[in-house]
Structure formats: structure tokens, C-alpha cells
């Protein structure tokens, strides 16, 4: 939904600034974004805000994968209450018995990411 309208790409860091299979937080204007570098070189971005704990912590979760309809999708588990999110879509795959805080949506917002000349750029 965001990819079509991307008009601005912001350079955030070098690829090597991101450890494989771990997240890092980045500031994009007023937004906090969680960046994840996968083993295959892909970099994905979701919101840093965890809707279930209402804290800015998603980048500190454990990266993994889950089989969804036979497809292995990359995931992150919130470090706070262990909800699992699809890193490619932001969809919450497992609410772990909780509901989001303050009536927030359970799914995470995503941002398009591209890597050019070893630089990570996030679109908005």
C-alpha cells in the first residue's frame, strides 16, 4: 500500500550497520522505525511501536520464521509479551492471548526499504 506512493527515500544507514537477524531502531522524522536485516540480504521495516505493550521496542525482538500456508515468512516476536508479527506485511500472526493497548490495531505499519550502494533507504 505504501510502495506505490513512495516519493521520498531517506538514507538511514549502511547495510553493515545492521546485524543480520537482529533489529535496529531508526528515526524517520517523528516516526520510530524498526529495521531488520535478514540472512538473504533483505532489509525490512515495520513500526518500532509495539501496539500490545504501548512501548517502542519491536526492533529488540527475536527474528525468526514461521510457516504460513506453506510459505516460510520472516517474523519478529515482541520482546515484551511475545506477539509474533510477519515482517513483510506487519500482520500480527499470534496475539499471545492479549489485546492491543488503547484500542490500537494489532498489525504493524510497514515501510518500503531499498538498498543502494550498500546504503539502506526507507521510503515514505
Amino acid at each position: 500500500m505504501t510502495a506505490l506512493e513512495t516519493s521520498v527515500w531517506t538514507t538511514v544507514c549502511r547495510v553493515d550497520d545492521l546485524a543480520p537477524e537482529r533489529g535496529a531502531a531508526a528515526l524517520l522524522g517523528a516516526d520510530q522505525v524498526a529495521l531488520f536485516r535478514l540472512l538473504d540480504g533483505r532489509v525490512l521495516a515495520v513500526q518500532q511501536h509495539d501496539p500490545f505493550s504501548d512501548a517502542y521496542v519491536i526492533s529488540r525482538g527475536i527474528v525468526g520464521s514461521r510457516s504460513v500456508d506453506g510459505v516460510e515468512v520472516p517474523t519478529v516476536a515482541s520482546p515484551m509479551y511475545k506477539q509474533v508479527f510477519d515482517l513483510t506485511t506487519g500482520r500480527c500472526l499470534d496475539v499471545a492471548g492479549k489485546t492491543p493497548a488503547r484500542g490500537l490495531p494489532a498489525d504493524l505499519r510497514t515501510w518500503p526499504v531499498r538498498v543502494r550502494d550498500d546504503l539502506v533507504e526507507v521510503g515514505s
Binding site: 538511514v12 544507514c13 550497520d17 545492521l18 546485524a19 543480520p20 537477524e21 537482529r22 535496529a24 531502531a25 531508526a26 528515526l27 520510530q32 529495521l35 540472512l39 511501536h49 505493550s53 504501548d54 512501548a55 517502542y56 521496542v57 529488540r60 525482538g61 527475536i62 527474528v63 525468526g64 520464521s65 514461521r66 510457516s67 516460510e72 520472516p74 517474523t75 516476536a77 520482546p79 515484551m80 511475545k82 509474533v84 493497548a101 488503547r102
Partner: protein, 863 residues
């Protein structure tokens, strides 16, 4: 209209009655007053002997203590009932209390019978009936032991006499049991069994004299008891005498109020436990039911259940007493059940005796050798749990197979009928246990115990309960998956072994070799588990290479994540011992970084509100001041709590602080399935609360006692005794092996208490592995722990020395100097706390509060 039930007596059966009635009387039709003579709540009299080793009267507590907070239940302690007015339907107590009853239950139990002879009133002569008896006996023996080896004599070689002898022996007294009859435990065991039993008792160092009738107890010239005169002219020297010659029902209230009394005492009741006055019941040892009083708790419980049922309009009645017994004396295995003496006409006895091995077993069978009528098991009672429920039923195959030593013949698997009683303490049948699995969806032993109460009293049936549950789960096709997660079909223990044996040392290798899918990349369950396994099989820094990707955020930044996304910091304070300089250093760090400080339960200091980017700065200061990581964030050793010990304490017998510091430094950083806590107390007063820990060490004047499997939390547990009077070297080796056996074989997030329950053979099984090396892995465990001790390094110091690792602590990858703007704190009681959502939104504070200052992280702390 609420009716009033008055219960006279506060023993085990009274407790069961109240429990059963409150359990079922959901409408609250009865309020209950219990009038107890003893100054304490009902306790487990059967386990009285354990008071010697457990050393804590609270350990004998029965059932849920909440029962006594029930508004419909009143417990009056230390006030004996002296009079019953059956016309007015009132009882009067020694303290002058009068209670009107709608129904009265007499549960006064029995008292120790003291034979009429000279000298029973001398100091040093005891009975063995209440906690106070046992406490006085203990005090007396301990006092005498100060200047000599105490000689003890027990009059009576029955169940209670042998327990008393074991207790005296445990106190260091040289003890002789005097039995009037021809053999020990003559009420339960035949002559052959009695002879085998005598040899086992002798092996404990306890003397046995048979056909020994005591005629007189003579004083010593120093005062107190001195010797016993026997009918055959013999004499026995004794500094302390325990009379365990039998019990007599406490039926005096029944007699004085004119109730029918049995020929040999006891208040006569019918099969519904009603006395000759239909407004009065009698239950337990005071009741003369089906012509006899019964000195066992299980029939008493049955009477309590019947009475509760009848009070609520039920129709149950007494089925006949289950007189099966099992002696609980360490090192001596005795069980007797059913027709142990073969008194049924035509009964056949099948006997297996091995005098060398100290084993005697007998089964009593019907005249066609098919139906089990009873049995005696001495020296090896392992078949008791499975045979007893088969009473009155056909045994499959050759009955002799059940008597042969393990591996000798192979007894057929017993398929218990649904109505077979498995737990006689709580009257739970095999069918009820199966039903817990089929109808109540219980999938493990703990759930079945909670659901049915089976095995929650004496615990002797637990192996059988576990077997039934496992079999039933399998029969239901309920696969209890032990798979770790979708990425591993193995359990944690299986994966641990696989990793250890194969020697693989990275997650990628582990998931490629043992994972379910080639392209899986793990999850928040298997990754930290593999990290924990690798930490003890191939030790490396938590942030080393790929290891860093496996860690939970706590291990990844070596601090504890808090609700707002900030972290807390806990430096190690080994054994709770800290210098004034250390305290000042911690205080200055907390002050400079604006951290909230709190003392932890593990005797150290927690500093809250640290931002991720502050952690390296905070730790540089702490490391410079001589501190190291406290691993409060890890599934690993947390702390070894200690009392101040013999260095300062007037009562301490050993230096508990020195041992605690040594243990904490030995096991620091040891990654495990769950957190591990230890405690060391310098004397039996147990100020370090060591028995609430996974491993608790308590000083004795001979060395250390070690207890295992204690924890606080949702299901609090007291640790159980693993070994006694160990020297320090043996103690450390024992703890080494215990911890690593746990690390290797426990499930993920399984603490030591449930793990011990899961180990084959329970605590005894753990003891066999740790103390007797039954698996032949002790040398391996010792070596693994030695490696752990050598390779330990402070992971925070190592992190501070490595710029690559420090990059992980940036707040934002593109703005490492900008603190997280979302963090906000407000002052409270002189410190700061996270702002609530309302405070953050700038909403007006609640009216009864002072207006609050909402401050961003940058204002509150030095960055």
C-alpha cells in the same frame, strides 16, 4: 437456614471433614466450629517423624490454609471440650465456652497407651503422639547429647515404635526396640516378614529385643530415667524411653454423655458414622465401626467423607476399612495389605525370601491361586503401589512373577479396573484418574493431582498415578507433544543431548541437523533455548557472532526489559555481602543516571529506568568500581542468598556467608532451563529461607544439609532433603551434579521442583544419579562444571572491551546520540517512575494528586 456443626477435635480427620463439607456445601447450609485441644491447626500426624529431619512444624501443615479463613469455619484452638449436654444440644469447653450444635461430630482420636507400671512418670519417658511430644523428646535428647552418647529404648515394635526408634537414632541416640511379642510389626507382618524386618532394623544400628516385657522403669541416681527391668530378669540401660505400646480411643466424652461404647473402647457408630444419638457422629480413631477402632488415617478420611456426605443429605456408607500400611522409615521398606496373615479359609501363601538381600515378600491368594487377598512386602515394597489396588481381583499370569526381583521374571502389566482405589488417603480410584484425562482434559501429572487430589497427601501412590495418566493419554491418542516448537520436533532434553553429543556449536548447524525444515530460521522459543544449550556445551560470549541473534532482549543487552522499554541493571553482590564503598558506587551511579533503586529479594540492588544507550556508560562505571554482571536478566544462576552466619550470629554453627559467596562465584553465569536460586543458612533457624530455593543449604554441627526443588512464585514449594551432614567438598560436588543434571534434562522454563517430579523415580531418582552415579555420568558432569568455572568471564567487562559489541546499544542507528523520545518519567516518593498513558498525553492529573511533572528522559538523567 444455616445449621451449626460442632466438631470436637482438631486432627487430620477433623480437617478432612471440614474440607469435604466446605467443598461440597456450596449453598452454605452448614457453618462449622472446630474445637481443638492442641494449640495449632490440624497437622499431618502421619508425617510426625519427618519433623526430625524437616525441623519445621509448618511443614506438617495439611491442605489449603485458606480453609481456616473461610467465613463459615471457626477454629478454636487450645480449648478442650469437657462436657456434652445432649438434651440442650450444647458442648462446654475447659475455658468455659459453650456452643449449641445442630449436629455434633466427635473426632477426638486416640491417645498413647501407657502400660500401668512403675516409673512411667519419670523425666525422660515420652510418648510419641503430637508435635509437642516430638519436640520435647528432641530437646531432651539434644540436651543429654551434649556430654554423652545417649541410650534410647522404645517400648513397642509396631509401626509407631519403629518410627520412634528411627527418630531417636537420627538424633544420635543408640537405640533398642523392646517388643513384647515374637516379631516386629506383628499387627501387619507375619513371622517371616518380621524376621527380615529385624535384620533391616539392625542394619540401621538399632537393637531389637523380642519377647521382651518391661515390668518397671527405674530412675538413674542423677535423676531422670536410668534403666528398664524386664520380666525375664534382664535389664536394659536407657537415658530416654519412648512408649509406643499402642493407642486407646479418646472416648471419655462419649462415656460421660452416655453414648454406646465398644467392648474394647471407642464410641460405637453404624456404617453411616452415627452414634447411638442420631445428632452425634463419631469419626476417626475414636469411632468403633464394624466392631473395632482403627488406628489408621485412611479409614478415618473415609468416615469424614461419609459424614460430610450425610450432612448434605447423601447416602454413602462405610465400605469396610482399608488397613493397608506402609512404613515410612528411611532405608526400611515395609508394606502390608489385605489379608496379610492368610486367615481366609483355603488361602494360599506364596513366599519369596532372600535373607542375604534382606527381602521377604509374600502374597496371599485365594484357594485357586488366582485372586489376590493380601500381602506382606519387606525390604522391597516397590510392588506395593500396583498390587494393593488389585486386592480381591484376579492377578494375570503366575502370581510368583510379582515377587521376583526386578528383571527376574517380569511381572505382567496390571490393567487396573476403574473402581480400584489408587490413592487411599484421598479415596481416588483408577477410574477417577482416567476421567481426569478423558473428561477434564488434564494432560500431565500436576493437572491430574490438582483435579483429583490423588497423591497429594502421603504421595506413595504417585508412581502409579503417573503411570495411569501416561497410559490413558496414549490410549486417548492424545499425543503429549514434547516438541520444542514448530522448528524442532525434539524436546529440550533431547536437543541438549543431540547438541552435546554431536558437538555442533552454532544455531545454523543445530537447525540444519536437528530442525524440522531446512529453510526455517527459528523463533522466540527455540532460539533462546539453543542459546542456553550452547552456553554450557560450547561456551562463548552471549554476543559472539551468531549467538547474538539467539538472545532475548534481556540477554542481548544484558539488562532486564521493563514495561516502558527501558531496562534495569543489577550488579552481582555475591552472597549479599557488599562493602560500604560498593554501596556508595552503586548509589552514585543511580543518582547520576536518575535511576529508581529498589532492594531485591535476592539481597542485591536493582536500578530501573536505564535507556538502552545508557547501559554501556552505566556498566563502565560499575565495572570500574569492581562490580560484574549479576545475570538478573538470564535464565541462569541468580543469587545465593545467605544469613550472616557464625561469624557474627550468636546462634550460627557455620560460616554461611563464605559458603554462599563461594557458591555464587562458582555457578555465576551458568545458563539453565530457568532461573536458579540458591540459599545458605548458618543454622537450623533458617534465616536465609534456603528451603524456598532451588538448592538450599542449611548448616548442621556436623556439616551441611542440602535441600533441592524449592521455589516461590505461583506454586510455592519447600525444598526437600537430598543429603545430610555433607562436608563442604562433598556438598559442592553434589550441587555441581544436581545443577548440571537439571541443565541437561529439564524442559524449557521448567524449574527444579516440577523437574524433580518428572525425573524417573522422583527425588530418589535424582539422588541415585547425583549421589550414587546410577547413570554413570557423574565424572562427565564434574568435568563439565570444572570447565564452566574455568571459562567464566564477566560478559559485561568483555562487552565494554569490544567496540563491535557496543554498537548494539545505540538508541537509533541513524541518531545514536538521540535518546528515545517516548520515555517519560514522573516523580514519586522521592524517585522517578514511568509516566502513565494519561500523564504522557498531558491529560489533567487525577484530582487527589498534586499536579505531576512529566519529563522526558533527557531532562531526568545525565546522558
Amino acid at each position: 437456614m444455616t445449621q451449626h456443626l460442632v466438631v470436637v477435635g482438631g486432627g487430620m480427620v477433623a480437617q478432612r471433614l471440614v474440607e469435604a463439607l466446605r467443598d461440597r456445601d456450596t449453598a452454605g447450609t452448614w457453618r462449622i466450629t472446630v474445637l481443638a485441644e492442641e494449640p495449632r491447626r490440624p497437622y499431618d500426624r502421619v508425617a510426625l517423624t519427618s519433623y526430625f529431619s524437616g525441623r519445621d512444624a509448618d511443614d506438617l501443615a495439611l491442605g489449603d490454609p485458606e480453609l481456616w479463613s473461610d467465613p463459615l469455619v471457626t477454629l478454636v484452638r487450645d480449648d478442650a471440650v469437657t462436657h456434652i449436654d445432649r438434651d440442650a444440644k450444647t458442648v462446654t469447653t475447659a475455658h468455659g465456652r459453650t456452643e449449641h450444635y445442630d449436629h455434633l461430630v466427635l473426632a477426638t482420636g486416640s491417645s498413647a497407651w501407657v502400660p500401668p507400671m512403675e516409673g512411667t512418670d519419670l523425666p525422660g519417658v515420652f510418648v510419641y503422639r503430637t508435635v509437642d511430644d516430638v519436640a520435647e523428646l528432641r530437646g531432651y535428647v539434644e540436651k543429654l547429647s551434649e556430654d554423652r552418647v545417649v541410650k534410647g529404648a522404645v517400648l513397642g515394635g509396631g509401626l509407631l515404635g519403629l518410627e520412634a526408634a528411627g527418630a531417636l537414632q537420627a538424633l544420635g541416640a543408640k537405640t533398642t526396640v523392646l517388643q513384647v511379642g515374637t516379631h516386629l510389626m506383628s499387627a501387619q507382618v507375619d513371622l517371616g516378614g518380621g524376621e527380615a524386618l529385624r535384620r533391616l532394623i539392625n542394619q540401621l544400628g538399632v537393637g531389637v529385643r523380642l519377647n521382651a516385657m518391661t515390668t518397671r522403669i527405674r530412675p538413674h541416681r542423677r535423676g531422670g530415667v536410668g534403666r528398664l527391668d524386664l520380666a525375664d530378669g534382664g535389664r536394659v540401660d536407657a537415658d530416654v524411653v519412648v512408649i509406643a505400646a499402642g493407642v486407646r480411643p479418646r472416648d471419655e466424652l462419649g462415656r460421660s454423655s452416655g453414648l454406646a461404647i465398644g467392648e474394647r473402647g471407642g464410641i460405637v457408630v453404624d456404617d453411616t458414622c452415627l452414634t447411638s444419638d442420631l445428632d452425634i457422629s463419631a469419626v476417626g480413631e475414636v469411632a468403633c465401626i464394624q466392631g473395632a477402632t482403627i488406628g489408621l488415617v485412611a479409614p478415618g478420611y473415609a468416615m469424614a467423607e461419609i459424614t460430610a456426605d450425610r450432612l448434605l443429605g447423601g447416602t454413602s456408607s462405610f465400605p469396610g476399612a482399608d488397613t493397608a500400611t506402609k512404613l515410612k522409615l528411611s532405608g526400611v521398606d515395609v508394606a502390608s495389605f489385605g489379608d496379610a496373615f492368610g486367615e481366609t479359609p483355603g488361602a494360599l501363601e506364596i513366599v519369596w525370601a532372600d535373607p542375604v538381600g534382606g527381602v521377604y515378600k509374600k502374597l496371599v491368594m485365594s484357594d485357586d491361586a488366582r485372586t489376590l487377598l493380601g500381602g506382606v512386602l519387606v525390604g522391597d515394597a516397590s510392588a506395593y503401589a500396583s498390587l494393593r489396588p488389585m486386592l480381591g481381583r484376579e492377578l494375570p499370569g503366575d502370581p510368583a512373577a510379582f515377587l521376583l526381583p526386578e528383571g527376574g521374571g517380569g511381572a505382567p502389566e496390571l490393567e487396573l479396573p476403574d473402581d480400584a482405589a489408587v490413592c487411599s488417603c484421598n479415596n481416588v480410584s483408577a477410574g477417577t484418574i482416567r476421567g481426569a484425562v478423558t473428561d477434564h482434559a488434564c494432560t500431565d501429572l500436576g493437572a491430574v493431582k490438582a483435579c483429583t487430589k490423588a497423591g497429594t497427601s502421603c504421595g506413595s501412590c504417585l508412581p502409579l498415578v503417573k503411570k495411569l495418566v501416561t497410559t490413558e493419554l496414549a490410549a486417548q491418542g492424545i499425543e503429549v507433544s514434547t516438541a520444542l516448537c514448530e522448528h524442532f520436533a525434539l524436546s529440550r532434553a533431547q536437543l541438549y543431548d543431540a547438541v552435546r553429543v554431536s558437538g555442533v556449536s552454532s544455531f545454523t548447524q543445530v537447525i540444519e541437523r536437528f530442525g524440522t525444515r531446512a529453510d526455517g530460521r527459528g523463533c522466540d522459543i527455540c532460539k533462546p533455548t539453543v542459546a542456553s544449550i550452547l552456553a554450557t556445551t560450547s561456551p562463548a560470549h552471549v554476543l559472539e557472532g551468531e549467538r547474538a541473534t539467539l538472545q532475548d532482549t534481556n540477554d542481548h543487552v544484558m539488562a532486564n526489559l521493563q514495561k516502558d522499554g527501558s531496562y534495569s541493571v543489577v550488579p552481582r553482590i555475591a552472597g549479599g555481602e557488599v562493602t560500604p564503598e560498593g554501596l556508595i558506587a552503586i548509589g552514585e551511579v543511580a543518582k547520576d543516571f536518575g535511576l529508581y533503586t529498589k532492594i531485591t529479594g535476592g539481597q542485591r540492588i536493582d536500578m530501573f529506568g536505564a535507556r538502552i544507550d545508557q547501559l554501556p556508560l552505566i556498566w563502565q562505571r560499575l565495572v570500574d568500581a569492581g562490580f560484574e554482571s549479576g545475570h538478573a536478566y538470564g535464565k541462569s544462576l541468580r543469587t545465593v542468598k545467605s544469613c550472616v552466619g557464625s561469624t557474627w550470629c550468636r546462634f550460627g554453627v557455620q560460616d554461611s556467608v563464605a559458603l554462599a559467596v563461594m557458591l555464587e562465584l562458582r555457578y555465576r553465569g551458568l545458563r539453565s532451563p530457568h532461573k536458579i536460586k540458591l540459599g545458605v543458612s548458618g543454622c537450623a533457624r533458617e534465616c536465609a529461607e534456603a528451603r524456598g530455593k532451588d538448592v538450599g543449604v542449611i548448616a548442621t554441627d556436623k556439616g551441611w544439609n542440602v535441600y533441592v526443588g524449592g521455589n516461590g512464585g505461583f506454586t510455592p514449594r519447600h525444598a526437600q532433603l537430598l543429603a545430610e551432614d555433607l562436608d563442604t567438598e562433598t556438598l559442592v560436588r553434589t550441587i555441581d551434579r544436581f545443577l548440571l543434571y537439571y541443565v541437561r534434562t529439564a524442559d524449557r522454563l521448567q524449574r527444579t521442583a516440577p523437574w524433580i517430579e518428572d525425573v524417573e523415580g522422583g527425588l530418589d531418582g535424582v539422588r541415585a544419579v547425583v549421589m550414587e552415579d546410577s547413570l554413570g555420568i557423574a565424572a562427565d558432569l564434574d568435568e563439565q562444571m570444572a570447565q564452566h568455572v574455568v571459562e567464566y568471564e564477566d560478559e559485561w567487562r568483555a562487552t565494554l572491551e569490544d567496540p563491535e559489541k557496543l554498537r548494539r546499544f545505540a538508541s537509533f542507528v541513524n541518531a545514536p546520540d538521540t535518546p528515545d523520545p517516548s520515555l517519560a518519567y514522573v516523580p514519586e516518593r522521592g524517585q522517578s517512575r514511568p509516566a502513565t498513558a494519561e500523564e504522557r498525553d498531558g491529560a489533567s492529573p487525577t484530582p487527589h494528586h498534586e499536579p505531576v511533572l512529566v519529563a522526558g528522559a533527557r531532562l531526568e538523567v545525565r546522558s
